[in-house]
């Protein structure tokens, strides 16, 4: 509760994560209450424990009722058309115009995906043109491309330019969406206020055009200066891509770029015809992107200071791919191993390593009581009449007295008889 109200001096995990130990605690409490009723209350003399025990048992059952009720239809009071679905339905699919991204900006409580805090209760997030799924719930890694968004928002907020759309173009942001209602946190009857001045600032921008017909639940603007996620830059873009900074971007119209690799899946290699010039990717710069034109691999470079580009010397068939780091596979394997270990520990599966040792020792004869060995059956060489006190004999006896060997030696008999 304190962390949710920001009253803690340090950051705590998300409330959803903290619910796990809370659920464990509640389960232990409920089990303890029922066990106590069974062990202590039922057999004791009548007193305050009996009614309290019954009350506790009833409370446990009653406490389950809301959860069962909420689980019945699985909707958890979410509206029939959640904001994520509305967003998918409102914006066009990636077509021949090329792939694009969407900038969501507004109150972080209304954004359907994890967001980056901008300032004063305003947050933003970037999603691609595909339908939102559970992968979009993962927080994207921090990267330098966020600087482009922050710069664009800063310039808009300071009324320093009316060309913020051009500042967002390298990230292939075609739509800027401001959610207003989600039907849960913000409803028509009890709406959250929109960030002061945000919609007005977006309306002022020359490159941003309000999407009509509008929806009552969100404000959407199309960036006329956008360029596709995978694009072949025109002459103006080629000249500007070597430079960095808002001063360069704001005077460069990148909307003349041609789309490439439309519908490409970043997880798979994809091919398309490219021409001499510059192929630009609207993603943060990453050396693991590679483009091979007619078999010749071209190294990526930074474009506009933050994004990724390839200088193409001659036209050909280009194959674009992303090489995942080997370290990631190690990390995934380690995670799988840890999960398996956790499952094994939780299931109390015993790996009988010692039993194999027992079987190896099964046929060994440590003590010959028949006397056919020719010597004394006494093990302690120090006792009178004991065996030879040579080093070998002493060692054997000492090992036996340690106890482990004796236990293991006896265990096969036990195993057989059992």
């Amino acid at each position: 509760v304190l962390a949710d109200r920001g009253a803690m001096p340090f950051a705590l995990p998300e409330a959803g994560v903290l619910l796990v130990p809370v659920a464990v605690g509640l389960s232990i409490s409920a089990a303890a209450a029922l066990a106590a009723f069974d062990l202590d209350v039922r057999g004791g003399t009548f007193g305050w424990r009996q009614p309290l025990g019954i009350l506790s048992s009833v409370a446990v059952v009653v406490g389950l009722a809301p959860g069962l009720g909420a689980l019945a239809d699985g909707s958890f009071q979410v509206p029939n058309t959640p904001l994520a679905r509305l967003l998918d339905a409102s914006l066009p699919d990636a077509s021949s115009a090329g792939d694009y991204n969407v900038l969501l900006i507004g109150d972080a409580r209304l954004l359907p995906v994890p967001s980056t805090e901008y300032r004063d209760g305003v947050a933003w997030a970037i999603v691609d043109d595909g339908p939102l799924d559970v992968r979009d719930r993962w927080m994207p890694p921090t990267n330098t491309a966020a600087e482009l968004v922050t710069t664009a928002l800063d310039e808009m907020a300071a009324t320093s330019t009316l060309r913020a759309g051009r500042l967002l173009a390298p990230l292939s942001i075609r739509f800027v969406v401001v959610p207003q209602f989600d039907g849960v946190t913000s409803t028509v009857g009890d709406p959250l206020p929109l960030p002061t001045g945000l919609v007005g600032a977006l309306e002022d921008q020359l490159d941003l055009v309000a999407v009509r017909p509008g929806l009552p639940t969100l404000e959407a603007f199309e960036n006329r200066a956008w360029m596709p996620t995978y694009a072949q830059l025109d002459e103006a873009g080629i000249g500007a891509s070597d430079a960095a900074g808002a001063e360069v971007l704001v005077r460069t119209d990148l909307s003349g770029s041609a789309p490439l690799f439309v519908g490409a899946d970043p997880l798979d290699a994809t091919t398309d015809d490219v021409t001499a010039g510059v192929v630009h990717l609207g993603v943060p710069f990453d050396e693991r992107w590679s483009l091979a034109v007619d078999g010749t691999t071209i190294e990526p470079r930074r474009a506009f200071g933050e994004t990724t580009a390839f200088d193409i010397p001659a036209a050909g068939v280009g194959e674009l791919r992303y090489d995942t780091s080997v370290l990631r596979w190690f990390a995934v394997a380690a995670q799988v191993a840890l999960w398996l270990a956790a499952i094994v520990v939780a299931a109390r599966v015993r790996v009988s390593v010692g039993r194999r040792d027992v079987m190896l020792l099964e046929d060994e004869t440590l003590i010959d009581l028949t006397g056919s060995g020719g010597g004394s059956s006494l093990l302690d060489p120090g006792l009178p009449g004991g065996p030879d006190t040579s080093a070998d004999a002493g060692t054997e006896a000492s090992d036996d007295r340690s106890g482990d060997g004796g236990d293991e030696a006896r265990e096969p008999d036990h195993e057989v008889t059992s």
Binding site: T159, T196, G200
Partner: protein, 174 residues
């Protein structure tokens, strides 16, 4: 309740009470804020630093007739060259667009009806760095076709109202 369990019971009750007390308080959350709304937009010249300066000239005649027309003047009152772009808008949309350069301490004139032909044409001038001053001029040298009363403003020429200080750095009216 025995004596050893009493402190634990007290801690438990106090904890519950504190949790309820804290939970009942409505957290104060400030409304999200992005920027101060522009409000009423007044024609203004600003010396505030800006990434770009955009001037919106409402319109001048661009019919191409003799004696009737208009132009837009871009003045550079600085030591550095001024670079920008202008867009001429007509009722049919964007009529023309081009770049412009103004040398230090000089001015450039955009002859609107040399680019488009329309009853009226508006001009948007964008200047890198937000410097410069832009003004539109409309003129008509043809004789008036009707008599005017003395207090009626003459329609032969006009300029923008007097500039006033503003906090807006990038948006101007000429």
């Amino acid at each position: 309740v025995n004596r050893r369990a009493l402190p634990a019971l007290i801690v438990l009750l106090v904890g519950f009470a504190a949790l309820i007390a804290v939970g009942r308080e409505e957290p104060t959350v400030a409304d999200p804020y992005f920027t101060t709304p522009a409000g009423a937009w007044m024609p203004a010249v600003s010396d505030n630093p800006a990434l770009t300066g955009s001037w919106f000239c409402p319109g001048v005649p661009a019919t191409g007739e003799d004696g009737v027309g208009g132009d837009v003047v871009v003045a550079n009152r600085d030591d550095e060259q001024l670079i920008g772009r202008f867009t001429i808008l007509t009722p049919d949309g964007v009529g023309a667009s081009d770049s412009l350069v103004v040398e230090p301490w000089s001015r450039t004139t955009i002859d609107v009806d040399a680019f488009v032909t329309a009853p009226y044409a508006s001009v948007v001038v964008e200047i890198d760095g937000g410097r410069g001053i832009v003004e539109q001029r409309a003129f008509s040298t043809r004789p008036a076709t009707r008599w005017r009363r003395a207090r009626e403003p003459p329609p032969t020429s006009g300029t923008s109202p007097t500039a006033s200080p503003s906090t807006e750095a990038s948006r101007h009216s000429c």
